[in-house]
């Protein structure tokens, strides 16, 4: 009787812990950049379907008839050129600066190589001046790189990179196909070198592109070799906006028997680059 009571209490405590973990799960998934395991399913998961644009769809004939009557007239003001993004002009100046710096560095190197011996204090002074000049060039280059990082790295777009690793015992497939919910589908053929790389513990990036920032189901298909045609598995992802999301597919547990659903998947996001607190440095 006492053992049963203790067991019940343990069960209750276990359930409490389970419940607390269940409550805590969403927060944990949100705040970490560490890989998170993703469920791989054999059947495409069913999702709630909500109606949208009901008025438009109910009155489609009216809208169609009104749109058919429209005729576009080009306006003169629309021919005017818009202002150029000042960043594009800055890039041109940066390239000119880089080329000028290269010339200066080459000239300094040239002069240095012609001198085999510093004969006097004057020569040492000249050398110090050259080192100062190189420091200045390096500082200018650092400013350019900071500007480029702000323009391209700190302003990420919503992208997905799919990485494949591991090699199934039955051999790697000939190709891997990934289909997004918006209809985009890409197929990555695996060459002999790719398969050897996977067998040696390497990883391959098979896709890197834009993806809609919303929860969606990705269909992953393996084909060729021991893999049945049309063998697919499904993974649900919710890529956060303006972040780069990685999806790693580990093929090592997949096999001809288990099919594509035997693969393991994990996801993580690239850490955001904090925007600099100071004003953007100006090009010297």
């Amino acid at each position: 009787m006492v053992r049963a009571h203790v067991l019940s209490v343990r069960l209750g405590a276990g359930a409490l812990a389970l419940a607390l973990c269940t409550l805590a799960l969403p927060a944990r998934a949100d705040d970490a950049d560490a890989p998170v395991r993703v469920k791989v399913e054999r059947v495409r998961p069913r999702r709630e379907t909500l109606p949208t644009l009901q008025f438009l769809k109910a009155n489609r004939d009216f809208f169609r008839s009104r749109l058919d009557q429209l005729r576009e007239k080009p306006l003169a003001s629309r021919d005017r050129a818009g202002a150029l993004d000042p960043r594009f002009l800055a890039y041109r100046r940066m390239i000119a600066g880089v080329l000028a710096s290269s010339d200066s560095t080459a000239a300094i190197e040239d002069a240095r190589s012609r001198r085999e011996l510093f004969a006097s204090v004057t020569d040492l002074g000249r050398l110090e001046a050259e080192l100062d000049e190189m420091d200045r060039l390096l500082a200018a280059q650092r400013i350019r790189l900071t500007a480029l990082q702000e323009d391209f790295d700190a302003r990420q777009r919503t992208t997905l990179a799919v990485v494949v690793s591991g090699c199934p015992r039955s051999g790697a497939p000939d190709s891997i196909a990934v289909a997004l919910e918006d209809g985009a589908r890409f197929v990555a053929p695996l060459s002999e070198a790719d398969r050897n790389a996977l067998a040696a513990g390497g990883a391959l990036q098979i896709f890197h592109g834009l993806i809609e920032p919303r929860e969606q189901v990705l269909a992953i298909g393996l084909a060729g070799g021991a893999w049945a045609a049309g063998d697919s598995a499904f993974v649900t992802l919710e890529p956060p906006r303006d972040r780069m999301t990685f999806l790693q597919l580990d093929l090592s547990q997949a096999g001809a028997a288990s099919g594509a659903s035997g693969l393991q998947a994990s996801t993580w996001q690239r850490a955001g680059v904090p925007a600099p607190a100071t004003e953007r440095p100006s090009e010297p």
Binding site: A4, H5, A15, T52, L56, Q69, L210, P213, R214, E215
Partner: protein, 198 residues
């Protein structure tokens, strides 16, 4: 005869209590996750940015051509869900995004031809548009016919007979006992441009 509480051995009572507590907690956990506070209603412009980001992934030349409330309208011109329709001239297709709680909950291609002109960026928000419609005819219509504003849609080229160029908000008031009231508002100026019953 059903056993009374006194008939049940004390160990079973403890076990039942523990299991009951566990079930209640698990139920509470799922209930908390599944039925969290409903997403707050928002005015239409609040969801535009996220919808535009998604549309730009679908097509780089995607332009907003239409929007409509996907769930009930509040008296202040907000809704818990709005649908945004984009058209891509290069793809010659339209794709809709429906947003609720700051997330895209529906993304689907529109299975109809809809090459509407793009809506210019400077449009008043749905709350201001509904205020303008209420101030003109809507408030009286609501009072007299137990009506409500059921639909708000922003579009261009469909509701202005004389000059189809400006974008317009159209507010549809529906009543169980009277023909619906349509109020069209210039989306740039907020002025009522026409209205009709039908």
């Amino acid at each position: 005869m059903f056993p009374t509480r006194r008939d049940v051995p004390s160990g079973s009572v403890a076990r039942a209590r523990a299991c009951g507590l566990a079930l209640a907690l698990v139920g509470l956990a799922f209930a908390t996750r599944a039925h969290a506070t409903p997403p707050a209603p928002f005015a239409a412009r609040a969801g535009l940015d996220r919808a535009t980001v998604a549309a730009s992934v679908w097509a780089t030349d995607a332009q907003l051509v239409y929007l409509e409330n996907d769930e009930a309208l509040g008296d202040d011109g907000t809704s818990a869900r709005w649908g945004y329709l984009f058209y891509s001239p290069s793809l010659q297709r339209a794709r809709a995004y429906s947003l609720r709680g700051g997330k895209i909950v529906v993304a689907e291609n529109l299975e109809m031809k809809f090459e509407a002109p793009p809506v210019p960026t400077g449009w008043i928000d749905s709350d201001a548009a509904l205020r303008a419609a209420d101030a003109s005819l809507g408030r009286d219509y609501r009072r007299d016919h137990a009506a409500r504003a059921s639909t708000m849609l922003l579009t261009r080229g469909t509701f202005q007979d004389g000059d189809p160029d400006p974008a317009t908000w159209t507010v549809v008031y529906t009543s169980p006992n009277a023909p619906s009231l349509f109020v069209v508002i210039d989306a740039a100026t907020g002025k009522v441009s026409r209205s009709w019953r039908g």
